[in-house]
């Protein structure tokens, strides 16, 4: 555990950078911001297990690495299994007196949406069921960006990718996004949260909570991708903020079964503000935008019912 126990504002974050510059992430890729905040919270006593994803290929181009903490790369499908093994090994070593049993070592899995939604789901489910003390961080850029923008289970409805082109027959991805965080929450683990890069303090508080629980925790972070979502790199944070303001993305957490929305939206914007800023939704007709808006309206209604009060407000502008 790092020396910080509570984060109220940006000044509580340590200045130390455990993620070195010089990595090969695209200019404006907000995954860099996610990792910087993650390592600021977890501190030096951390082992990072990195499934194959953009971060893995771009931060460790042999013979260079951007990580100042122990780091291991494993395949798409077994990141959660490897993290379970590391956690068990540390527990056994502590029992045998090989390492200090009072030293808390954080084990963090960093995986992308392809490695979690599609390929790594069974390993993740096993890890959650066995109850290993691992924090699983899913940074979600809504497609396989690393291999060239192919659709994944996370890609939203009507989004363009190279395998779901927008034309006369196919109108982008035809299926809505899979609610992975709720699938994980159905495992009844101590802590599940969704976070967004545009609200970093909220995200950091969730990382801290996830590291403090005894048992598995899961943090789902939306990470706008300038290359795959087709927007100017400078709008990375702006896109994330619009996702929350239009209720396309809702920041919530489930602590020991208690559902709570952490970022309330008193008045939400129309989803077209979020869609029009991105090139991947460029070819959508008005009807298709309304179709997405309908999906959001239903989702907001469901979330408000779960929260028991109106946490996401009515549609305005």
């Amino acid at each position: 555990m790092s020396s910080i126990y509570r984060i109220r504002g940006v000044r509580d974050l340590p200045r130390e950078e455990l993620f070195a510059p010089g990595h090969g992430l695209c200019a404006g890729c907000t995954a860099g911001t996610v990792i910087r905040h993650l390592l600021k919270i977890s501190g030096r006593n951390t082992i990072v297990v990195n499934a194959t994803n953009c971060v893995e290929v771009s931060t460790t181009m042999y013979p260079y690495t951007s990580w100042r903490v122990p780091w291991i790369h494993v395949a798409f499908e077994n990141a959660a299994a490897v993290a379970s093994g590391i956690e068990t090994a540390l527990r056994v070593m502590a029992r045998k007196g090989l390492i200090d049993p009072n030293k808390r070592i954080n084990i963090v899995v960093l995986a992308g949406d392809g490695g979690t939604y599609d390929i790594g789901l069974q390993a993740l489910s096993g890890m959650l069921e066995r109850g290993h003390r691992v924090m699983y961080v899913l940074y979600d850029n809504e497609a396989y960006m690393n291999t060239g923008i192919q659709r994944s289970g996370s890609t939203p409805l009507h989004a363009w990718t190279t395998t779901t082109p927008v034309g006369k027959v196919l109108r982008g991805k035809m299926q809505p996004k899979k609610p992975i965080a709720e699938i994980v929450a159905a495992h009844r683990i101590p802590y599940v949260a969704t976070a967004n890069i545009a609200y970093p303090i909220d995200m950091d508080q969730k990382f801290l909570k996830g590291l403090q629980v005894e048992g598995p925790s899961f943090i789902h972070v939306l990470q706008p991708c300038p290359t795959g979502w087709r927007f100017d790199p400078r709008y990375g944070i702006e896109v994330g903020r619009l996702a929350v303001e239009t209720a396309m993305w809702i920041n919530w957490e489930i602590t020991m079964g208690d559902f709570k929305v952490t970022v309330r939206v008193p008045k939400r914007k129309h989803v077209k503000h979020y869609l029009r800023i991105q090139g991947r939704f460029r070819d959508l007709s008005e009807e298709e935008i309304e179709e997405i808006q309908e999906l959001i309206n239903k989702e907001v209604e469901r979330i408000n019912r779960m929260a028991g009060e109106e946490v996401i407000g009515p549609l305005a502008e």
Binding site: A20, P21, G28, G32, R36, P63, T65, W67, R68
Partner: protein, 101 residues
């Protein structure tokens, strides 16, 4: 470097040695902080994907006489010029200027 000199398992022995790769030459637009207008809100530091905005403990005195204890500076060796800092700055103290060589 041949395979004989590589460490076993291809592990990297020096943590964070990507600092040897200067990614600053990717940049097309250079962000410049106007120290007079900067209100030291930490927002650019918080959002920077590359962690290239450094907090220096050098005091700065503005023309209006206000003294700040810290100064934010950009490490141009690594800044890729994405412009997130300029976009998110609440007082528009960061300007993007074209790189000319």
């Amino acid at each position: 470097m041949s395979w004989r000199e590589l460490p076993i398992g291809g592990i990297i022995l020096e943590a964070g040695n990507s600092v040897k790769r200067k990614t600053g030459d990717w940049r097309v637009l250079r962000p410049v902080i106007d120290q007079e207008r900067c209100v030291r809100c930490y927002i650019c530091w918080m959002y920077c994907p590359d962690g290239v905005i450094e907090i220096r403990d050098t005091p700065y005195r503005t023309k209006a006489g206000r003294i700040w204890n810290i100064t934010f500076e950009i490490d141009y060796d690594y800044c890729k010029g994405c412009g997130i800092c300029a976009q998110e700055c609440p007082v528009k103290a960061i300007e993007l200027v074209e790189e000319v060589k």
